[in-house]
């Protein structure tokens, strides 16, 4: 049995509860179609002469392709076309190239070597799915198996097999400088030295399948005027469209993507592999083509939530105050990057969890292995970190003898506290959630804890950025050369960043004309409520009329008096760039360290895509030797 209560009594003064439609349990616009089986999904679009496309897949984790012999497959009954890497106009991409992040590292179809079990090496297009599967089994690929690596920390060792030549150190290169993303706030080593207890542990999450009922799929068909229509269940329509345009070297205006209703996604339908594949098939045959994964492909070839390993080291005082927390994290990206490097930055910004801890350090690695590439899933970048953090909080509770909820409340972040990524916390509600959950479960809290509030943070040091110890360990290439043995944050800092240093928060772009601005009295919440942190831009989106685009100093950082002379100019230079020039994700100069000698230039895509941002694809199915049966989800009596 489930019960739900809405605690309207909490934060009532920050909310307008008299709205007409917001907050009402309105029935979903699409639910009747869903529950009566009338909602059309991508696979309900029947076309005359629909062809079916299946992929030939690698049986090896890592192997050089010596030869592909498709002669027998090509003459199998019903086969219309054999497709290989040569047929893909621009056979190299990375999903986030459309936001200028990362280097192109992934072919739609492998040609020189395969880098994971199940990677696509060719496709068959045939009149029926059965015929396509039969012909797939007749493609002969001559492989030269190579040593492979499946463990993230093995992959970091100097002698580890090189998985992807685009990333020669088996790691993503962050900012053209380090082989990991750093987070540094305060001085953890100094704090560890004075802590009453040190608590260390390692946590591991294995890959998890998104497991939607509807597998990834697309149906593409020629339209008039040289255009192609693509019915898809993508989670990101323009990501898939842009990725298709890039891989097929086709103007985006020639692509007409239709979707919007998906039979579950959970992150597994952003990789944009089925869409370019199906459109490629339609281009090559001039016929409608359906390319859809079966359940085996969805489970074992399609990108899962990747494996993650986290090590946490806490310095704790006897009363339960956590004074230092250090993370070493490893994301298993698999053979290609897709979204993982971005998720790692998200994870770094999330640390140390919802707690106010004065000294934080983290090294987070995005590691390439010979595994099915990882991708997004509900909670991407956060789920495993939260598992580690919250299990670790209970370890700290056991060591200090402080009740688990009391420990969290004692360390909880509040409005006005400075976070490790150097922005002020606001709109926090962790304490109230803890109190309410404890109350519902009958978990006793002392009167002091029950009286706590998220509104009263930011006192004293909690609002300040401490002097920070930095280091330059783990520069790109050092690890593979055997010169960076440690993965954990440095024990021997080589630099200091003065207290109080921070740039300015980036806020939403204001409306482009005043008519788009909803009236302040209709936005449903109290602006610039009396509580809370330094709210210099209480409602940048709504409250400001159309002003010139600018960065708003939402999070003013009170500098500590001890700031050395160079602090001001550095801070000023950081604030200087115009707010809307998209900064290069690849080669950001640091304000805190000498500029890197030669930042790696961002890889330029062969064909610059149009303005739309496509996203990354996922992978198609395996060669079918392990699961030859047809999934009931893929074909049916409806399909001709």
């Amino acid at each position: 049995m489930t019960t739900v209560e809405f605690r309207k009594d909490l934060f009532a003064d920050e909310r307008d509860d008299t709205l007409h439609e917001i907050g009402k349990p309105t029935i979903r616009q699409d639910i009747l179609g869903h529950v009566t089986g009338r909602t059309p999904y991508f696979d309900d679009h029947l076309f005359d002469g629909l062809l079916h496309m299946r992929a030939v897949r690698s049986p090896h984790h890592h192997a050089r392709i010596r030869n592909i012999d498709t002669s027998r497959a090509a003459v199998m009954p019903g086969v219309r076309r054999v497709v290989t890497a040569r047929d893909v106009p621009v056979n190299l991409n990375t999903l986030l190239s459309l936001i200028n992040f990362g280097r192109d590292d992934e072919p739609l179809c492998a040609h020189d070597k395969v880098r994971f079990l199940g990677e696509t090496v060719a496709w068959i297009i045939a009149d029926t799915e059965r015929q396509a599967r039969d012909a797939v089994a007749q493609v002969r690929v001559d492989y030269d198996p190579l040593p492979h690596v499946l463990d993230v920390e093995e992959a970091l060792k100097p002698g580890a097999p090189l998985v992807n030549e685009v990333y020669p150190n088996n790691t993503f290169d962050y900012h053209g400088k380090y082989d990991h993303q750093k987070l540094r706030f305060g001085d953890v080593n100094a704090a560890f030295a004075r802590a009453d207890h040190i608590v260390e542990a390692e946590y591991q999450m294995s890959p998890i399948e998104q497991a939607p009922i509807e597998t990834c799929g697309a149906i593409a068909a020629p339209e008039q005027n040289g255009r192609y229509v693509c019915h898809t269940n993508t989670q990101a329509l323009f990501f898939s469209l842009g990725t298709t345009a890039k891989l097929l070297d086709m103007a985006s205006s020639r692509l007409h993507f239709i979707g919007g209703t998906s039979g579950g996604g959970f992150g597994g339908k952003v990789d944009s592999i089925v869409e370019p594949t199906a459109v490629l098939g339609a281009v090559l045959t001039g016929r409608p083509v359906r390319f859809t994964w079966d359940r085996y492909e969805e489970m074992q070839v399609g990108a899962p939530r990747g494996g993650e390993r986290w090590r946490i080291k806490d310095g704790v005082m006897a009363d339960g105050s956590i004074i230092a927390r250090e993370f070493t994290g490893f994301f298993d990206s698999g053979a290609y990057m897709r979204l993982s490097p971005y998720a790692i930055i998200k994870a770094a910004g999330h640390l140390p969890g919802p707690y106010s801890i004065p000294n934080i350090a983290a090294n987070v690695f995005c590691v390439v292995t010979n595994r099915t590439p990882a991708t997004a899933m509900r909670g991407f970048g956060i789920t495993a970190a939260d598992f580690a953090i919250e299990c670790h909080m209970d370890r700290v509770s056991e060591v200090t003898g402080v009740d688990p909820i009391a420990l969290r409340l004692k360390n909880a972040y509040r409005d006005g506290d400075m976070k490790a990524h150097r922005r002020v916390a606001k709109n926090t509600a962790l304490i109230e959630c803890c109190q309410v959950a404890a109350g519902k479960a009958g978990w006793p809290l002392s009167a002091d804890l029950a009286a706590m509030t998220s509104l009263g943070g930011g006192q004293g040091d909690r609002a300040l950025i401490p002097e920070t110890a930095t280091d330059e360990e783990g520069r790109i290439g050092e690890r593979r050369a055997g010169r960076a043995p440690d993965t954990a944050p440095s024990k021997r800092p080589t630099g200091r960043v003065a207290a109080g240093q921070a740039g300015q928060a980036v806020v939403a772009v204001p409306v482009q004309n005043e008519d788009m601005q909803i009236e302040v009295d209709r936005i449903g919440h109290a602006i610039a409520a009396s509580h809370g942190a330094p709210v210099a831009s209480p409602a940048p989106t709504y409250a400001r009329q159309a002003i010139a685009p600018q960065r708003t100093g939402a999070d003013i950082v009170p500098p500590r008096p001890a700031a050395p002379p160079q602090a001001a100019p550095v801070a000023a230079s950081r604030a200087a760039p115009p707010a809307y020039a998209p900064p290069s994700q690849q080669a950001a100069p640091s304000a805190y360290a000498p500029p890197p000698a030669a930042p790696t230039p961002p890889a330029s895509p062969q064909a610059a895509p149009p303005a739309e941002k496509p996203y990354q694809p996922d992978r198609p199915f395996s060669r079918g030797v392990r699961k030859p049966g047809t999934s009931p989800f893929l074909s049916g009596t409806r399909r001709r």
Binding site: V4, R7, A236, I382, D386
Partner: protein, 354 residues
């Protein structure tokens, strides 16, 4: 051999939207000649309720009944650009774009009505039931339908709006990790009760008591749906799911739903939920998007509850019976931890008496 009760706790926050920005969303709104409004998007409804939430946001902003709004998504020929449904960005980014588009359409609508009523548009308001009237004088009114007809056929005016919402892209510092990550955070805390069988290693989650802070429950039923489903997924992640049971070894991977373990509908855990609403200043009507965050706290809370029940630390997911049994073996048997946590006392009982 016995069955042991345990209780665990976890709390989290969750970032809403693509971490470093750079993820725009657009919306277009226009009225039909009889005063119904169409919202054109490229957002994706994965089952989370994107169409319905944006419909309510459009209706609220326009000041018209929700029945008079329809959301059309996603066709790249008619729907304007949107990055997609991921990173908890749908409600926040698309919702804000819909507010802006609807605000502009409302402005046109109020001016058209003002012309018909021969008053100043600033003196007009909507009643949310399909009428526009002079503030303080409800009898001086015109319906939205008549307004749209007059605008279309008499005034030559469109009732339409455009909206875009963008947090500009920013970067992370290589040396300190300084960044402006997302602009708002959702929160959650929960207490989980489990029973652990020390003979089989099986774990059963018996009850969840939770609190989720979601900014604003734009549609309370959709929030409820997400929270129940998310808790189910959290239980499933904690105890059952993986594509690589012996990671990093790739063997024994499941290939279909017969071998990929997940709890069935009958195993949905009794769950007592409290929803807290602290509106975020840049979120649509304060709503943060509960979908992604709600599974996260379940995983560690279950691990913590198992430790409380039998004294086995389960640091590797999923927590299979094999892992629990190996932990029990290493410890020489169950070591219930107890504690003043409000759990039903008498934590252990013989098998068959639960």
């Amino acid at each position: 051999m016995a069955i042991h009760r345990g209780r665990g706790f976890a709390c989290i926050n969750y970032p809403i939207g693509m971490n470093l920005g750079g993820d725009p969303a657009q919306a277009l709104v226009h009225s039909t000649p009889d005063g119904k409004f169409m919202v054109a998007l490229s957002a994706i409804d994965l089952g989370q309720g994107m169409k319905s939430v944006t419909r309510q946001i459009a209706a609220e902003t326009l000041g018209v009944p929700v029945e008079d709004v329809y959301v059309d998504t996603a066709d790249s020929d008619t729907g304007p650009h949107d990055m997609g449904s991921f990173a908890s960005r749908g409600t926040h980014r698309v919702g804000n774009a819909v507010i802006r588009a609807s605000a502009e359409a409302r402005k046109q609508m109020m001016e058209a009505a003002a012309d018909e009523l021969e008053v100043n548009a600033a003196d007009l308001t909507t009643d949310g039931r399909g009428n526009i009237h002079v503030k303080g004088a409800p009898s001086r009114s015109i319906t939205v339908a008549d307004t749209a007809t007059a605008a279309q056929f008499k005034q030559g005016r469109t009732l339409s709006g455009r909206g875009i919402f963008l947090i500009p892209p920013s970067d992370a510092d290589p040396d300190t990790g300084e960044m402006t990550p997302v602009t708002c955070f959702a929160h959650a805390a929960l207490v989980i009760d489990v029973i652990v069988d020390d003979e089989t290693g099986e774990v059963e989650v018996t009850e969840i008591n939770s609190a989720y802070e979601v900014g604003r429950a734009l549609n309370p039923r959709l929030v409820e749906q997400q929270l129940i489903g998310g808790a189910w997924m959290g239980v499933s992640h904690a105890l059952y799911e993986t594509t690589e049971p012996y990671y990093p070894d790739r063997s024994h991977g499941p290939e279909d739903f017969n071998t990929y373990l997940m709890p069935g509908p009958g195993q949905i855990v009794p769950h007592h939920i409290a929803v807290l609403e602290r509106p975020a200043e840049d979120a649509p009507f304060g709503g943060k998007g509960p979908g992604e965050m709600c599974a996260n706290p379940v995983l560690p809370a279950i691990a913590n509850a198992i430790y409380n029940a039998v004294g086995v630390r389960c640091d590797r997911l999923p927590i299979t019976p094999e892992k629990v049994l190996r932990g029990l073996q290493a410890n020489g048997g169950a070591r219930p931890q107890g504690g003043n946590n409000g759990a039903t006392q008498g934590g252990s009982m013989p098998q068959g008496q639960r």
